[in-house]
Structure formats: structure tokens, C-alpha cells
């Protein structure tokens, strides 16, 4: 379990988080939602140790983050950032770089593991293709492959649906569900509220660095937090035995 205890963080003299606490458990998809500038990406960066809090601390299974050597932390927590530099390499080579925390030089075992990931995300036919020749959606898939190749129990994603069309979005969440079934903790920043309510087990609602709500989608809907934070109302609609969520202006 990742635990943030009384975190404070500011950009220069502008405070963002003050005494912020939250926990993230294995085997769940946790969505972080909130309006622009509320601190979603900063929270993900704190969780991935890219930012250091000015006060408070983060623990992973009870051990403080700072006690982990960098490579050991990389075996526990992986991140799909919002945008990423993609070098001119093949898809397979890109995914092999995800094995860096485990071995400096890719072994046969790493190559086998990567071939399985390529199959899993449907990119095996693209293994020899240069990532720079892929479409935006395909590149995002390759980046997801890199994340999976890192094989960590905690998987962080910052707006993973940005470059994806609707069918690829559903496919992505199917993939995230599989990760959850493997006991991994999936934490993702999402702008798409419908997707967040449909697929996440738990939601954290942020506003200006404060936690305004935390719970299952149903629990969140029982409060007026969505209306307060986003200025919209949510209409749950039962469709083919599932609940879809429609968001309308207030």
C-alpha cells in the first residue's frame, strides 16, 4: 500500500498541497479527477518520486520512499507520463528499455517477457517498426507496453486516454482491469469523467490541492462533490445491465 501522510508541496512560493493524506491499495483502479490546475499531475509526480514533498512523507508498504534505492523503487512504481520523448527505435527496443531496473543489458528472459507484452497489447506485428512511424494512438500503446515491461505492483498513468479514440480507450481500460486482477494497484489521472465513473473502483476528487471527496463512484454520487467541484450534474443511466454516467451542465 502507498500512503501519503500530511504531505505539503508548493511550486516556488505558491502552495499546492497542505497536510494532504491519501492511501492507494493493491488490486484496485483508483482515478484522480478534478478541474485543471487542481494538482492531479503533481500528485502523480509525488507518487512516482519525481517531486519531493516539503513536509510529510510517502511510504510504500510501510517503508519510507527515501529508504528505497532508485532502482528498487523503479521495481515497485512505474509511470506513464502525459507526454514522453520517444527516440527513433523499434517498438521491441523501446519495450526492452522498460526492463532497465532489472538488468543493465537485456537478457533472453527480458526478450521473452517483452514478446509476451507485445502479444498482450497486440503490437507483436509492430515489433520491428520504428516507433516514430506509428500513429498517435499506436505510440500511446507502445508507451503502455513500456510501462507493462517495467512490471511493477503500482502503475501510475497521467491522462492515458489523451491520444486514444473511443475504441482504444475501452481497450485500454480492459487492459487496466487485467492489471487489477493481477493484484496491481492502478492509479490514473483522468479528465474523462464518464470513463472514470465507469471503470474506477475508487475516485479521489481534488480541488486546488485539497481532497474534496474519496470513495467508490456510487459513494461520490451520493454527495454533491461533483456538482460543487466541476459545476456539472451527473445522470446515471442503466444500459444493458451496466450503469453509464452522463454529465450535464448544471
Amino acid at each position: 500500500m502507498i500512503e501519503l501522510k500530511n504531505i505539503s508541496f508548493s511550486y516556488g512560493k505558491t502552495p499546492l498541497f497542505r497536510d494532504f493524506s491519501a492511501t492507494f491499495s493493491p488490486g484496485e483502479i483508483c482515478g484522480i479527477i478534478g478541474p485543471n490546475g487542481c494538482g492531479k499531475t503533481t500528485l502523480i509526480r509525488l507518487l512516482s518520486a519525481l517531486e519531493i514533498p516539503s513536509a510529510g512523507g510517502l511510504t510504500l508498504d510501510g517503508t519510507p520512499y527515501r529508504a528505497f534505492p532508485q532502482k528498487d523503487l523503479a521495481k515497485q512504481v512505474s509511470l506513464l507520463p502525459q507526454s514522453r520523448n520517444l527516440p527513433a527505435v523499434t517498438v521491441e527496443e523501446l519495450l526492452l528499455r522498460g526492463r532497465y531496473p532489472y538488468s543493465r543489458c537485456p537478457s533472453d528472459e527480458d526478450r521473452f517477457f517483452v514478446s509476451q507484452i507485445l502479444n498482450q497489447i497486440g503490437l507483436s506485428d509492430f515489433a520491428d517498426r520504428d516507433v516514430l512511424t506509428l500513429s498517435g494512438g499506436e505510440r500511446q500503446q507502445a508507451c503502455l507496453g513500456l510501462l507493462l515491461a517495467q512490471d511493477t505492483p503500482y502503475v501510475l498513468l497521467d491522462e492515458p486516454t489523451t491520444y486514444l479514440d473511443i475504441s482504444h480507450r475501452f481497450a485500454l481500460f480492459d487492459m487496466l482491469k487485467k492489471l487489477k486482477e493481477q493484484g496491481k494497484s492502478v492509479i490514473c489521472v483522468l479528465h474523462d469523467l464518464s470513463m472514470a465513473f465507469r471503470f474506477c473502483d475508487r475516485l479521489l476528487v481534488l480541488e486546488s490541492g485539497s481532497l474534496k471527496g474519496c470513495g467508490t463512484p456510487r459513494e461520490i454520487l451520493k454527495t454533491d462533490v461533483i456538482e460543487t467541484v466541476f459545476g456539472v450534474r451527473c445522470l446515471p443511466i442503466p444500459v444493458e445491465g451496466q450503469t453509464e454516467y452522463l454529465f450535464l451542465p448544471r
Binding site: Q70, V77, P87, E93, R129, D130
Partner: protein
């Protein structure tokens, strides 16, 4: 579920042949390099029969004209071209990787000028300490690198700004070189040739200490190729993959400074090798540094050897400094690079 079932059919990369057959590519380049090395030993203001010259050397006859030219003029010069080319090309790969900037190269962002200032100061103040020239050049190159890196980091500057800052730093350092030349006019032998970059005055005493440093730095860079791969993914991704980004950056900058400094210490301010060669090689190898670094080292050696050979035979019995021909090749290449980058942005 197959996520990409709707995607287009996969296309093979046009350069996959080279990526799959890097060993073959390296062998072909090495063979071409050896051929150029042989030609470089044969041709110049005087044509030498290579086999005869080598035969005389092996027979212990080092007094014949051919053997003396071969041993004391052509061989150190060819080795100098080889070392300088490999060093500057690999320094270019490392600097471009560290700054995430394809337009960065040791001569463009002022690293060569820093090395030049260090070397020319050393030779002016301590004229007899020739073997310390690579060290002095290294110190100058590190100073220039650190200055540019600090400015890039502090300002979060974009690629163009970093390049422009580098050009400004280079101009300041060149002004420093000219000041030293003015203050010590007699102690700097053939200062103009040093500024242009040339290999005509290369001797074993200057090329061998630098060559040893270059070999050590090249081996270190090859051993750290995997870290360069991870760094090419960007700082955030590299950190989350467990790479110590700051330490790795400094190591690469130090290695690039050793390489550029050592090359400048005997070849002067050779330009554009660190820009042209990595770009051409990257087209064939991609950003896989375990392939890119050795191919660039060979490519750099080939370019400088070839240009030096042409400089000697085009106007024989006269010769022009190799730096002139490299600038004639590299200048237009840099313009094309800027224009193609602009076209992509538009």
C-alpha cells in the same frame, strides 16, 4: 483483446537492415576505414609504395626516405585523423543526448572553443609541457560544457535557445583564444592552423597521450550505452526507470569533454564532425547507443581521414587544413538541418 486490431498493416522501417545487421555494418565501416588508412599512408605531396615502405620498416631500414615519411609523418597524421574523428563524433552523440538537442555539437555550442582556450593558454604559459595539453584542453571543455548545461537547466531553455547560448559562449571563448594569441604571439606556433583545425603538424608526442585518453573515454562511453538509451526517453521516464539522471548527465558531459579536449589538443578546432556524423549514423542505427556509438566512432574516423586525404591530394604538392574542408561540408549540412527542422514544425 487485440488493442490494435483496427490498425494499419505494419510497415518495416527503411533502415531495419542496418539495425538487424549492425555487426555487418560495423565490419564494412571498419574495412573502409582500413582502406582509407592505407590510402592516407600512400598519398600526399609524395606518393609512397606502401608495401615497400612497410617492408623497409620491418627490415629495420628506418633511414630510407619512404620509411621515414611513413613512420614520422604519415602514420601519426593518419592516427591523429582517426582519433580526432572518432572522438569528436562520439562527443557529438553524447552532447546531443545529454541536452536532448540534435543541433548540439562540440564545435557549435562552444565545447571545442573551451578546449582550444585551455590548450592555447597551457602552451602559452608552459610551452614545454606538451604532454599536459590534453589535460588543459579537457579542463577548458569541461568549463564550457558545465556553463552551457547550467544555463540550459536554469532557464529550462528550448533547443534553439540552448544552441544560441552555446554559440554565444563559443564566441566569448574564441575571443579569449584571440586575446591569448595577441598577448603571446611567439609562443603559439601556427596559431591560425590551430583555429582552423588541421593535422599537418601532428607528432607522436602530441597524438599518443591524447589517443590513450580518447580510447579510454570511448570504451567508457560504449560501456554506458544502455544508460544513454534510458536518458533518451526523457528525464521523467529515465528517473522512474531507476536511472540517476543528474549523475549520468555529468558523466556523459565529462566523457564528451575528455573526447573533445583530447582531439582539440592535437588537431585544433576541427568543426562539424560532431554534428554531421551522429546525424548520418543515427539514420541507420536509430537511437540505440550500443550501435550508434561504435558506428559514429568509425564514421567520424572515416570522415576526417577522407577529408584529410582529399586536402592533401586535391592541391598537391600543396595542402589545405582539413578544418576548411570539414567546414565546407558541415556548414551546408547544418543549414539543411535547421531548415528541415523548421519544415517539420511548420
Amino acid at each position: 483483446m487485440n488493442i490494435l486490431q483496427k490498425s494499419s498493416t505494419p510497415k518495416c522501417s527503411e533502415h531495419n537492415f542496418f539495425r538487424r545487421h549492425t555487426f555487418l555494418t560495423v565490419c564494412l565501416l571498419a574495412a573502409f576505414l582500413l582502406l582509407l588508412l592505407a590510402l592516407s599512408l600512400c598519398f600526399g605531396s609524395v606518393k609512397i609504395d606502401l608495401w615497400k615502405g612497410i617492408g623497409e620498416l620491418f627490415a629495420g631500414d628506418t633511414d630510407s626516405a619512404d620509411a621515414r615519411i611513413l613512420l614520422h609523418l604519415r602514420l601519426p597524421r593518419a592516427l591523429g585523423a582517426l582519433f580526432a574523428g572518432a572522438a569528436l563524433a562520439v562527443a557529438g552523440v553524447l552532447i546531443q543526448g545529454v541536452l536532448h538537442n540534435p543541433m548540439a555539437a562540440p564545435n557549435i555550442i562552444g565545447v571545442n572553443s573551451g578546449a582550444g582556450l585551455g590548450a592555447i593558454l597551457m602552451i602559452s604559459v608552459f610551452p614545454s609541457a606538451v604532454s599536459f595539453l590534453p589535460l588543459a584542453a579537457f579542463c577548458g571543455a569541461v568549463g564550457a560544457c558545465a556553463c552551457i548545461y547550467a544555463l540550459a537547466k536554469r532557464t529550462g531553455a528550448d533547443r534553439l535557445t540552448v544552441t544560441l547560448v552555446g554559440i554565444a559562449v563559443g564566441a566569448i571563448l574564441n575571443a579569449g583564444i584571440n586575446t591569448v594569441k595577441t598577448l603571446f604571439p611567439d609562443s603559439v606556433y601556427d596559431a591560425d592552423a590551430f583555429m582552423i583545425g588541421g593535422l599537418s603538424g601532428v607528432t607522436y608526442s602530441r597524438v599518443l597521450p591524447a589517443g590513450i585518453l580518447i580510447c579510454l573515454a570511448l570504451i567508457s562511453a560504449f560501456l554506458l550505452a544502455r544508460d544513454a538509451d534510458i536518458l533518451s526517453l526523457g528525464d521523467d521516464t529515465a528517473k522512474t526507470l531507476g536511472l540517476n539522471v543528474t549523475r549520468t548527465r555529468w558523466i556523459f558531459l565529462l566523457l564528451a569533454s575528455v573526447l573533445a579536449g583530447a582531439a582539440v589538443s592535437f588537431a585544433g578546432l576541427l568543426g562539424f564532425v560532431g554534428l554531421v556524423v551522429p546525424h548520418i549514423c543515427r539514420r541507420f542505427t536509430g537511437q540505440v547507443h550500443r550501435h550508434l556509438l561504435p558506428v559514429s566512432a568509425l564514421g567520424g574516423g572515416i570522415l576526417v581521414l577522407l577529408c584529410d586525404l582529399l586536402c592533401r591530394i586535391l592541391f598537391a604538392p600543396y595542402e589545405i587544413p582539413v578544418g576548411i574542408l570539414l567546414s565546407l561540408v558541415g556548414g551546408p549540412f547544418f543549414i539543411v538541418l535547421i531548415l528541415s527542422g523548421r519544415k517539420r514544425r511548420d
